[in-house]
């Protein structure tokens, strides 16, 4: 068990390193110049201040800016410097906006994590609940209803769910505000919670549909197991049979799906945070993509990969701990 965990941790570290190298190199292949906007902006600032820059001065500015972000170095050296700074806890600065990435990321990650955690709990609760009900009432009306709805729900892209919700709950019924977000401990907790409703619904509906389908099939397998038939034959009450004999076996495979869910939530945050103008990490990523902000793209990708890898690691270990049949090797 211990050697398994050590091996898996090593594997995770190696994946994060590999991803950061791949993304670093890929980004340097991007067409376009991240400095260009910045230079234009500096020149305009200078003109507004009444100073006209000569061409030499512009070239000098360009060289300075390139050097400031190590862009004048060969790629391996750039990567080496970036990695050294990362290990010291310095995530660098945004090329376009100049803010310190680790501070900004800290503030934004709190928001993204807060929303993802709520979405996660709601998805798990309702997904498992609906899936279990369907499995117990297999073939009945409620099963057909939930299965049809979730079949349909899985085909609707996240942004479409968001738009329908905004239209119905935001514009027609005017129940919930349709954009902006802040954390409840940043003042006005009631307002914060009202602003949470639509993003959370967007983030959970698709996941609930998928999870309900998955739970339904694993629970059906568990319901047909021999020891469950024995339990029924002994005359145990339905509640006891389901809660004690079926639920645990039926839910074990779900644990392995949680890692994928976290990956999906962070990937989807890009779209949800754009629609609802939430100042989270996904929003930061879209901004960085549109302005080719190498440092920010690199930092966010590595961070998201790290979170995904950690989630997979924890679910793997948890799975082995819950299911004694799994042998660590």
């Amino acid at each position: 068990m211990v050697s398994f965990i050590i091996k898996r941790v090593g594997h995770s570290i190696y994946i994060v390193i590999l991803v950061s190298i791949v993304v670093f190199v890929l980004m340097r292949m991007l067409p376009g110049d991240p400095i260009l906007d910045l230079i234009d902006q500096r020149i305009e600032d200078a003109i507004e201040a009444g100073i006209a820059m000569s061409l030499e001065e512009q070239d000098q500015l360009r060289a300075d800016l390139m050097a400031e972000h190590d862009l004048d170095q060969p790629i391996p050296i750039q990567f080496g410097r970036w990695a050294m700074r990362m290990l010291r806890g310095d995530w660098g600065r945004s090329i376009g906006r100049g803010y310190d990435i680790s501070t900004e990321l800290g503030n934004r990650l709190a928001i993204s994590m807060y929303l993802s955690a709520i979405a996660m709990v709601i998805t798990l609760f309702f997904g498992v609940l609906f899936g279990t009900i369907c499995a117990i009432r297999n073939g009945k009306f409620i099963d057909n209803l939930v299965t049809s709805v979730s079949n349909f729900g899985m085909t609707v892209p996240g942004f479409m769910i968001a738009i329908v919700l905004v239209y119905i709950l935001g514009f027609r019924l005017q129940w919930f505000p349709i954009f902006r977000f802040w954390l409840p401990w940043q003042g006005n907790p009631g307002g914060s919670i009202r602003h949470t409703v639509l993003p959370i619904l967007t983030m959970t509906l698709g996941g609930i549909a998928g999870l309900a389908r998955m739970t339904r099939s694993t629970m059906l397998d568990a319901l047909n197991a021999d020891h469950v038939r024995t339990a029924w034959a002994k005359g145990m009450r339905e509640k006891t049979v389901i809660l004690r004999h079926v639920l645990k076996n039926g839910l074990m495979p779900i644990i392995s799906g949680v890692g994928g869910m976290i990956r999906g939530l962070f990937g989807g945050s890009v779209i949800v945070e754009t629609i609802f103008v939430i100042p989270g990490v996904g929003n930061m990523m879209v901004m960085a993509m549109l302005t080719l902000d190498y440092n920010v793209i690199q930092a966010v990708t590595v961070l998201f990969t790290f979170i995904t890898v950690m989630a997979n690691l924890v679910t793997d270990i948890l799975y082995g701990w819950v299911d004694p049949r799994i042998q660590f090797s």
Partner: protein
Amino acid sequence: MSTKITNDPNNADNKGPGIGEPFGEQSFEVLTEAPLPPVNEFVRFMKVFCRRKVVVFGLFLVLIVLVAAIFPNQLAPHDPLTINLLRTLEPPSADFLLGTDDLGRCTLSRIIHGSGLAMQVGVATVLVSSVIGTVLGLIAGFGGKFLEELIMRFTDAWISIPGMILIMLMAVILGRGVFGLVLAVALGGFPGYIRLVYGQVMTVKQNDYIMASISMGDSKMRIMFKHILPNCISPMIVTMTMGLGGGVMAEAGLSFIGLGLAPPTPAWGGMTDAGRAHLATLPWLSLAPGMAIVILVFGFNMVGDGIRDALDPKMRGTNN
């Protein structure tokens, strides 16, 4: 001897002699029982496939979009790119069935013209990622320890990057043409195929007939194409049809956040985003192209479900 012998009891030629009938020439024919007619795999496939109404409905939806994608000019009432600033943001009318957008372009025509892109991206991404995935999976399975480690560890890393982030990165790198878009979405999805093919290679390799094949001196190539690939085809088709909807959704997501095809080319995701500004007053501008995405993805998924049921013996007889 008659050559038309079947096992159909209703066929008069095939009836045995009744009680009391003399045994004549006919009875001889009955005794020479023909082997059962071979099961027509295609007919069986179609039977399972068409058993669920929702699957047939899905196929119907896909066909509608396909027709729109092939004949956009014949079906669209207006040109999708013509700007008419005198008739902007009109509600649905007899002239413009789904109204006009903020540049006076016909929404319905733009949706019809967008179907080609959605179809192309869906089909092309699946083809590209399955081909890349199959080749790399086979190399990993047959190319020796070093290549195996290299490819499979790379796959592990690739799969750990959140999907949408990866596709966005690739889309920015590969440029904003149809080709770049297809490649970006395909590169987001190909590790799944590598794992599938690699898994099949590892499973099939255990069989005795591979051992026999090796001991007879068959080349790796022959084993690959004769034994491994045929085993991959069934799970591959299922993954591919399931991937169609995913490809369409990924492309729509990209063009929704502004990283898809450059305007003015009509793309469903981009139209949904552009219509968002008028959601309170003219909801169809956003909802109609969004519904088109849902219809196509739903159709693809249902067809995928049907194919899975028809190909997988374990799934036969279930109703989900």
